[in-house]
């Protein structure tokens, strides 16, 4: 949906210009955030910055400490140590003014099924002190933005999963926050609805809104984020742009070879010694060979041929950002 449908044309131009000017401004400063639950340290000295207009992807497997970090940023959880500053104001629990600048989209749907979409939005707006004509105007704008204007009077109980997710996002936008924090907003959503959500988020990005997007789906973050923070066991493992992260990868391509039986040590040693082979992992009857480039696959296959080894199946795979996580932690994001 074009942005101009939801907002006055001048608004988008103004937002775009403001976005450019503000990119270098630090909006959110997370410093040494630490939180423990009993003996377990869930968040361990996490620090990162979000610049105005930037989209930061917070990536990590389940239990990595993402939700605790987000809860502390939103002022829901008191950190044991460290601080969160939004536009120079420290975020605290309760009636913190900094909270007015944050829109929070929780992982679970935070909607009342017995209130209409419009009534839900009005409720959440009222919590931020919005009322009167401003309230009506914001409702109309936001419903248009998430493409639910024609369902404003309907109850969320009658919505599809994707529509509910979009309304969940809309509720967080009612008070026009500077920073929108989305905690895994596509959980349980079909691909079509996921695309609709991404369209909305991309519009918000174009409007110059700052976003923090947590997920354990690297492809989602790749699509949106200007900057990626990888977190595991409560610690920040990487805090870079996607391009910089790609440069960290030891390989740009991989060759997956399925053999009929486990590969002998002599064969794997021989492959490792070939030029262009960065690493090799052997699991049961499968070899996963990391290559400097896709061109290095052919010498490997010829070597296998020479050794009298006939693979049942082989495939070259382009390296993804998800492999960065594997490279950093030795385990998959979904482990």
């Amino acid at each position: 949906m074009p942005v101009a449908k939801a907002l006055p044309p001048a608004y988008t131009l103004r937002a775009g210009l403001a976005n450019l000017a503000a990119m270098a401004t630090i909006l959110l400063k997370v410093s040494q955030l630490t939180k423990s639950y009993g003996a377990r340290r869930a968040v361990d000295a996490v620090s990162f910055l979000v610049q105005a207009g930037q989209t930061v992807g917070l990536i990590g497997p389940n239990g990595a400490g993402k939700s605790s970090t987000v809860s502390m940023i939103c002022g829901l959880l008191r950190p044991d140590a460290g601080s969160v500053e939004l536009d120079g104001v420290v975020v605290t629990r309760g009636r913190s003014d900094a909270k007015r600048k944050i829109g929070f989209v929780p992982q679970d749907l935070a909607l009342y099924d017995d209130l209409s979409a419009r009534e839900n939005l009005k409720l959440f707006a009222a919590l931020y002190g919005i009322r009167g004509a401003e309230l009506t105007r914001r409702c109309d704008q936001v419903l248009e933005l998430v493409n639910l204007a024609d369902r404003a009077g309907d109850k969320p109980a009658t919505f599809s999963g994707g529509m509910k997710r979009r309304l969940n996002i809309a509720a967080a936008l009612m008070h026009d926050p500077q920073l929108l924090i989305l905690d895994e907003p596509t959980v349980g959503v079909d691909p079509q609805s996921r695309n609709a959500i991404f369209d909305t988020l991309e519009q918000l990005k174009q409007m110059g809104r700052s976003l923090i997007y947590t997920s354990h789906y690297m492809e989602e973050v790749e699509r949106l984020a200007d900057h990626i923070v990888i977190i595991d066991h409560g610690k920040v493992l990487a805090d870079e742009s996607p391009a910089a992260l790609y440069r960290r990868l030891p390989a740009q391509a991989a060759l997956r070879v399925e053999l009929g039986q486990a590969a002998p040590a002599a064969l794997t040693d021989g492959i490792r010694a070939l030029p262009g082979v960065n690493s090799l992992r052997s699991e049961a009857a499968t070899l996963e060979i990391q290559l400097a480039s896709g061109d290095d696959a052919l010498p490997v296959m010829l070597y296998l041929e020479r050794q009298g080894c006939r693979p049942l199946h082989f495939a070259t795979v382009q390296t993804k950002l998800e492999d960065i996580f594997l490279n950093l932690t030795g385990r998959s994001l979904r482990d």
């Binding site: 309760g94 209130l115 919590l127």
Partner: protein, 429 residues
């Protein structure tokens, strides 16, 4: 303030949209209150239901016939004459509360036992052990009628004359001269003289002399807020009891709702806004109180319109209802604060609520409790609520009685509320 009002408004809309909650909280107390009100006697003018008693008449004497007639005429009893076997079966089945068995020869033996040292005849009383109170009532009524009939007969009837003549003749034959025999002969001679006076049948316009009877009568005067429907009205108590019960169960639902909101994430979403935890909790308490107050007023409005329940002290009623509403809200928050999961909390909370209403006298009025239970239930807040509603309705008491009820309920509400806020605050750390 806007956030607070928005939160309260949201809760009210959600409650009204939930038909099940409305049904549970409004229709059920009215239906069950009506049933209990009817069971416990209805309006002040209504009569106590008569006691079903079987009568096994094995004696054909005049005394026994008169006792039967008196029992049949007693307004407290519904007497059915039947054979001993049938009477036993009916008492066993609970169809009859008790059975009176008048043995053969009772009339003669009873007369002899009144003056002489002869063996007293036994009237059999078969009773349903679940009706101990009825046994005492039947015994008392029977004693009154037997005493009156036997004494009347002995001082004026044929049986009495015959007994006196026979006794005097017996004493003359014996020629006993000991002081006791002399005194008894003089007494019987006086009785014989009394029996020889003209009978009512021979003295037109004179009432028959009634023998021994109760030396007093009672003037029964109900002390309540008025007479008839305006006075004692068992619907006033039953609607108070059922209102308290179902509104307290609504408090349980409110607590469970908060637990569900905490689990679903909507609680955190609300707290992500610039509102404090206390604002959120107080808004929930305010909406719960408004709902409870509205329900209680609606329940009593129905009772007033349909069953003529009179609110004798409207200001007191408003105060008691308001304090009970606050108590309900704080009870709900207490459940939310200390409940681990909605599922586990629901079972325990419903059990606790039912115990509270039972001990509070919602099912059976607390004045029917044994004394030790009455003393114990002073520590139960619902007892004060129900007693407070009784005080401002059918008892017609003034503000002093209402204020005591309000004060105790408020104290409990503050206690529950402070405990809940403390626990919520601690959990948030």
């Amino acid at each position: 303030m806007t956030a607070f009002i928005a939160l309260v408004r949201k809760d009210l809309i959600l409650f009204l949209a939930d038909r099940r909650a409305l049904l549970m909280s409004l229709v059920l107390p009215i239906v069950i209150g009506t049933f209990f009100g009817y069971l416990f006697g209805g309006f002040g003018a209504a009569r106590t239901s008569r006691i079903d008693v079987a009568l096994v008449q094995l004696d054909s004497s005049e005394i026994s016939s008169k006792i039967t007639a008196c029992l049949n005429a007693d307004p407290a009893l519904r007497v059915s004459e039947m054979a001993l076997g049938q009477a036993t079966q009916e008492v066993r089945k609970g169809k009859q509360k008790a059975a009176i068995v008048i043995p053969s020869g009772f009339g003669t033996a009873a007369g002899a036992a009144l003056f002489g040292p002869g063996k007293k005849p036994e009237i059999g009383l078969l009773y349903d052990p679940s009706q101990q109170a009825v046994l005492a009532m039947v015994k008392g009524t029977l004693a009154q009628h037997v005493m009156q009939v036997v004494s009347t007969e002995m001082f004026g009837g044929k049986t009495g004359k015959q007994f006196t003549d026979n006794s005097l003749a017996g004493l003359g034959l014996l020629g006993a001269s000991d002081p006791d025999s002399v005194a008894l002969r003089q007494l019987l001679a006086s009785v014989q003289k009394f029996q020889a006076r003209p009978q009512a049948a021979d003295r037109p316009g004179k009432k028959p002399l009634g023998g021994l009877s109760m030396p007093f009568s009672t003037r029964d005067e109900p002390i309540s807020s008025g007479t008839g429907r305006a006075g004692y009205n068992s619907y006033a108590h039953s609607f108070a009891g059922m209102g308290v019960q179902f509104i307290l169960l609504l408090g349980v639902d409110i607590g469970i709702g908060v637990l569900l909101a905490r689990r679903s994430g909507i609680w955190n979403r609300l707290l992500a806004a610039p509102v404090s935890l206390n604002t959120l909790l107080l808004a929930r308490a305010a909406s719960a109180s408004l709902i409870a107050l509205g329900l209680m007023c609606a329940i009593f409005l129905f009772a007033a319109l349909v069953f003529g329940v009179r609110i004798a002290n409207p200001l007191g009623f408003a105060g008691v209802a308001l304090c009970f509403s606050l108590l309900t809200a704080s009870f709900g928050l207490l459940i939310a604060a200390f409940g681990k999961t909605p599922e586990a909390a629901r079972g325990i909370a419903v059990f606790a609520a039912l115990i509270l209403v039972m001990l509070g006298g919602a099912w059976v009025p607390s004045f029917l409790f044994p004394p030790w239970v009455q003393s114990l239930t002073v520590a139960v807040p619902t007892r004060w609520a129900i007693d407070g509603f009784d005080a401002v309705t059918w008892r017609g008491l003034g503000m002093d009685a209402a204020l005591i009820s309000m004060g105790v309920q408020l104290a409990f509400a503050v206690l529950f509320g402070v405990l809940a806020l403390w626990k919520f605050g601690r959990d948030q750390q």
